[in-house]
Symmetry: C2
Subunit: 423 residues, 2 copies
Amino acid sequence: MATSWLAVDPGCSFTLQNLPYGVFSHSAGQPRIGTAIGSNILDLAVLQSKGLFQGPHLRQSDCFSQTTLNAFMALGRPAWTEARARIQALLRADEPALRDNEELRKAALISQSKAIMHLPANIPDYTDFYASREHATTCGTILRGKENALMPNWLHIPIAYHGRSSSIVVSGTPVRRPRGQLNPDSNAQPHTAACKWLDFELEMAAFIGGPPNALGQPVSTAEAADRLFGLVLMNDWSARDIQKWEGQPLGPFTAKNWATSISPWVVTFDALQPFRCEAPGQEATSPQVQAYLQEPDRHSFNIQLSVEITPLGNTTPTVITRSNFKHLYWTLEQMVAHHSVTGCPMRPGDLLATGTISCDGELGQGSLLEQTMGGKQAVELEGGEKRTFLQDGDTVTMRGWCEAGGVGLGFGSCTGQVVSAHP
Amino acid sequence: MATSWLAVDPGCSFTLQNLPYGVFSHSAGQPRIGTAIGSNILDLAVLQSKGLFQGPHLRQSDCFSQTTLNAFMALGRPAWTEARARIQALLRADEPALRDNEELRKAALISQSKAIMHLPANIPDYTDFYASREHATTCGTILRGKENALMPNWLHIPIAYHGRSSSIVVSGTPVRRPRGQLNPDSNAQPHTAACKWLDFELEMAAFIGGPPNALGQPVSTAEAADRLFGLVLMNDWSARDIQKWEGQPLGPFTAKNWATSISPWVVTFDALQPFRCEAPGQEATSPQVQAYLQEPDRHSFNIQLSVEITPLGNTTPTVITRSNFKHLYWTLEQMVAHHSVTGCPMRPGDLLATGTISCDGELGQGSLLEQTMGGKQAVELEGGEKRTFLQDGDTVTMRGWCEAGGVGLGFGSCTGQVVSAHP
């Protein structure tokens, strides 16, 4: 396996296999595109300006000096493959072009500790799916009882709703506990107050790339693979008490429009290929899923996921969720095909989130709603504190990690601290 | 009342009182900003480049040579007021600056018949409300019966869902009948087919302007007035059979993500002031609406609305809906305050639609779903054709018109023809 002339600590997320894309700035400079390698960022705008991307799909482009990844995402798979191969070559131990050019190395390598990370893209539209069968089953059980846990449409449709893109923030941004309209005891008069049932949702989200499909032109599951640019971790912060009162008949609105955190580094599907695995069988959908949801190459990815809560003033995080992307019932290709079956245009930078990723097992629940069965059973944290929902000062951190045959890569983290509501 | 040196036909939508903003192009030129006056467009990019906007809020700006209105929207109310006063002055009969400058007039006046209209803004986020009590009551009656027509939350919350901005198109764009997943007989197996219950929804939509509120910072009803830039007509095309099967628990998704048409000319709230009227009383909300939804200056606008259907090959349109914006139970200010009560950022160019605008009376229903009570009673068109839902080739045209004390203005039209589904 190829190694880099740059030191990459064992267990580091950002290996030579990974090379995720992100938007960073440092000192007074404009945000621009970089890739993470070890504890550094390789400034791709510098490399591009020095003429180091001379392949046919990139030599005319200034995509890496943009303040978002949208232009690079729009170029499509041939450009992504070309960029990845070139960056991997420049970092390989046996390649002198960057290794032996001290001036260029100084200009192009920045310590991650000195960089500020930004949202990786301008997100034209954000969609949140509901693709985990375990999550939908537990939520349905809490709301409607075990017998009617899954809605009749759930095994046929990758259920989703349009989300709010204006409140998507990059990991590290503090999130303010929202005020809103509540009616915990559904018969009485509602009131306006700070959310009491503040929750996280462990999700991942895919950025769409390639040229947009025209209005009226669906994207098939086969075509979807070339429209999937990369993945990030997502915390879909949720105000459960607001959601309970507003949610019918049109779905969540202010319960989820106040903050959605994503990790800053977009891990590409090219990097994820060594971690492909089988997706769950869909035999439960009888007789079978609709033709437009069938896949020539159905697969998932083995991505281990965790959620930690760290209360204010506590230095020991408690891992309260362990789950895996591979459990999702609906694949990303099926999400794209369903989203666009009516001809809905998918634009570069659009974000498709999976919904909460839960699985069976003790720590498998990807939200406090599920862990506490609707706030009924408290979770114990290291040091003895208990939680049904999040308290002010709590920091929630999500991590993602892939490992196979001695090759590993990570997603870094998606973190955010809850700050108290406006009085 | 002031008149223009430019001829404006009686009954024309685009009077000197109106001066709506739009994005247009002609010949090979770039799209830019104009205002409609009579049957012409006044090219504001030309006027700006000639230095004709020298007020303090516009003299440094090139907002009118942009390809969208977002930059102008972002400038906020002082700039909007300044621009309106200046344009109105330049067009007034007694003002020679433009009237007597033939060269400038030739460069700046374009016949609307020679222009192509574009979407007025890049729409970062699109939200669709459900603000008509008559509409919500009729839909609820069709779904749940008369006794439970209004959901318990409806009188307390301006209910809404996030919509899809990628499929918003300008008036005149043909809309393709979508294919999707259907289950008209809810117990059987779903199937994939072209939508059979294709519907329109008569709506209006407000563009947000001004600098965005920070994440976590609500916008009050009092502040909302300065965040409301202008209004357009909207047809929220809906696939009722897809909606019926997918709609629970998270609301409409593919049923409404394939086309939403808006009129090209944004009529400003400054222009609408002469048509202010009382908004419906909210005594039905007991004891009263929440404090954050109360208004220092509650009002609505008297805007007459109509919908026509013209079948293919038929030259006579049938007016099948007559309604009025003033019937909406929730005001735009309440929508903004509710949307942002949790701290959701509202950005310039965001679009807030009202939901279907229905009222009592024979033609008061703003959708075929309501007119036909769920497809049960056909509507008769001129020439004898009948409709429960829309057929291929049908053109749906919406119009809006204000009149008070001899002053009138119009919204022009929002039109679209249904083309047949992909095979």
